[in-house]
């Protein structure tokens, strides 16, 4: 799989140290900017490798399906991408990833590379308000990469990239709904199973069973419920602007995503909240899982500017 990706994008990506599971942008190391590194289990394309490139990530370390990469992988990636201004580890809040990244960070620091870590924890279903640091990271990763990448491209310090990305994450929230499960290759059975008429709110992007199961509702009803929950967690006032990401978990077709997006646009029009730069598509998946997630990013002028910076990667190209 990874070899196929490298074969397909020889001008955009390359291996670090000949290791197929540690991928950097083709022009890495990029000097004079903070390097952004991510990683995690495979099975979530375009997360992670699809976002390696100009304006987003410097490198990604990929583990087995739904399993963290190893500390040694992360360490060698860190050394490969380091352009002299330090490295930001930016990844989802999963314990396996944390332990491997932390170990790599300790080793990198020993070798004189400055590392800072930000955990993306945008999934409001996974833990209550007030306990945000216990939340999982899901599609909000995409916005986090955008902000970190754009900020780093300005040549500022690691500390500033760290602070800016952290500020952005305070304004990013996601919620997902699954209607079928995915099967980890080699594991044989689907990770959880749903009745024909059930849906699961707040499942994890690894097929972890979610928070609650309900009878299936219409797309409009589900969307309305989800937006209510999101706005409860992240209040947005009249005339404020948000970017919206409607994300397929894999099997759910674009057709359905646009039906959902249409509903969101209607709801926000009623609330007089302006949508700026929506994204609709498959941005963070779980193999062939059917379902979708909605991510809100409450904008400011600064974040709007960053959202508009050019990016050029295998899966996202923006002028």
């Amino acid at each position: 799989m990874l070899e196929g990706i490298l074969n397909a994008y020889p001008n955009l990506l390359k291996k670090a140290n000949g290791e197929i599971r540690t991928i950097t942008r083709a022009d890495s190391p990029v000097k004079g900017k903070v390097s952004i590194v991510t990683g995690g289990g495979s099975g979530h394309l375009p997360v992670f490798m699809g976002y390696v490139g100009k304006g987003l990530l410097d490198g990604a370390a990929i583990g087995n399906v739904f399993a963290s990469p190893s500390m040694n992988q992360i360490l060698s990636l860190t050394k490969a991408v380091h352009g002299g201004k330090g490295v930001l580890y930016l990844y989802g809040n999963y314990s396996g990833d944390i332990m491997n990244f932390d170990m790599a960070a300790e080793m990198a620091e020993d070798e004189g590379i400055k590392v800072k870590t930000i955990l993306v924890a945008d999934d409001i279903a996974s833990s209550k308000k007030g306990n945000e640091q216990a939340r999982r990271g899901v599609a909000g990763l995409f916005y986090a990469y955008k902000i970190a990448g754009a900020c780093a491209d300005e040549g500022v310090s690691l500390k500033e990239v760290y602070n800016t990305t952290n500020d952005a994450l305070q304004r990013i929230r996601s919620l997902g709904v699954a209607i079928s499960s995915c099967t980890v290759p080699g594991a044989g059975k689907p990770s959880f199973s749903l009745g024909k008429d059930e849906m699961e709110i707040g499942m994890g992007i690894h097929g972890e069973a979610g928070i609650k199961r309900e009878k299936r509702k219409s797309a409009d009803e589900v969307t309305e419920d989800m937006i209510d929950l999101l706005l409860e967690d992240l209040p947005v006032k009249q005339d404020e602007e948000v970017s919206v990401l409607v994300n397929s978990l894999g099997a759910t077709p674009l057709e359905e995503l646009f039906i959902i997006y249409r509903k969101i646009a209607n709801i926000f029009e009623d609330k007089r909240i302006k949508i700026y730069k929506p994204y609709v598509g498959r941005y963070a998946t779980s193999l062939e899982m059917a379902g979708f997630s909605i991510t809100l990013f409450k904008l400011s002028d600064k974040f709007k500017k960053y959202l508009n910076q050019p990016v050029w990667t295998p899966f996202v190209k923006e002028g």
Partner: protein
């Protein structure tokens, strides 16, 4: 009776572990699919298989290096939560017996104790949070009770039993750490796959000792 394990024994145990996780893979996946992401058995099997192969490539390592380098290889091959925890534990166990050519029951106790500490530190975890620690810590207690007057064999038997009971006890715990914590009270009733893995490892070691006493 007193126990002495040599390099050859450690290697044999690792081959046995590879067999055990091959057999138990599906059951562990099933547990993990209920309160995790369904891959724990697969990951453990990949790990034990990787280290077994590693020892074929490097047959002459001393015991501490089997553990330290073998553990590194497990993490390299599996990454994952359990992979880094196993690495941390094996590294600690290896350091606990650094230059030794053979290990006795007191060494085993020290190795398990340091492994547990390493897992607690890396995982920021403690007993009762529904993890691998919940089988390892009760097992350690039986070793700690061992003294000049007790029989090593019955200590080992108790270690296995304690590990099993510890794994079983996780059914009544709510996950508070790792992926499983997101299942909240839906994790109740299900045994923690990592705790069962802890039991399987200790049982494999123990069975080997009992059989070859």
């Amino acid at each position: 009776m007193n126990i002495i394990l040599h390099q050859e024994d450690i290697k044999n145990i690792i081959v046995k572990l590879d067999d055990v996780f091959k057999k138990e893979k599906d059951f562990l996946n099933e547990l993990d699919s209920k309160i995790g992401d369904g891959d724990h058995g697969l990951t453990m099997y990949r790990g034990t298989n990787a280290i077994a192969q590693y020892l074929e490539e490097y047959p002459d390592l001393k015991i501490s290096d089997i553990l330290i380098k073998g553990g590194f290889r497990v993490n390299e091959i599996t990454g994952s939560t359990i992979g880094i925890l196993i690495f941390s534990a094996m590294k600690a166990a290896g350091l606990a017996i650094k230059e030794k050519e053979s290990i006795n029951i007191k060494d085993i106790q020290k190795m398990l104790q340091d492994s547990i500490q390493a897992i607690e530190k890396r995982g920021k975890a403690s007993k009762g949070q529904k993890t691998i620690l919940d089988s390892l810590i009760p097992a350690l207690e039986s070793l700690e009770e061992n003294n000049d007057e007790t029989d090593d064999i019955s200590t080992i038997k108790r270690m296995i039993k304690n590990a099993y009971d510890g794994a079983e006890s996780t059914k009544n715990l709510e996950s508070q750490i790792g992926r499983a914590k997101w299942f909240k009270n839906r994790s109740m009733g299900v045994m923690d796959p990592g705790a069962y893995t802890g039991y399987l490892i200790l049982k494999t070691i123990g069975d080997y000792i009992l059989k070859n006493q």
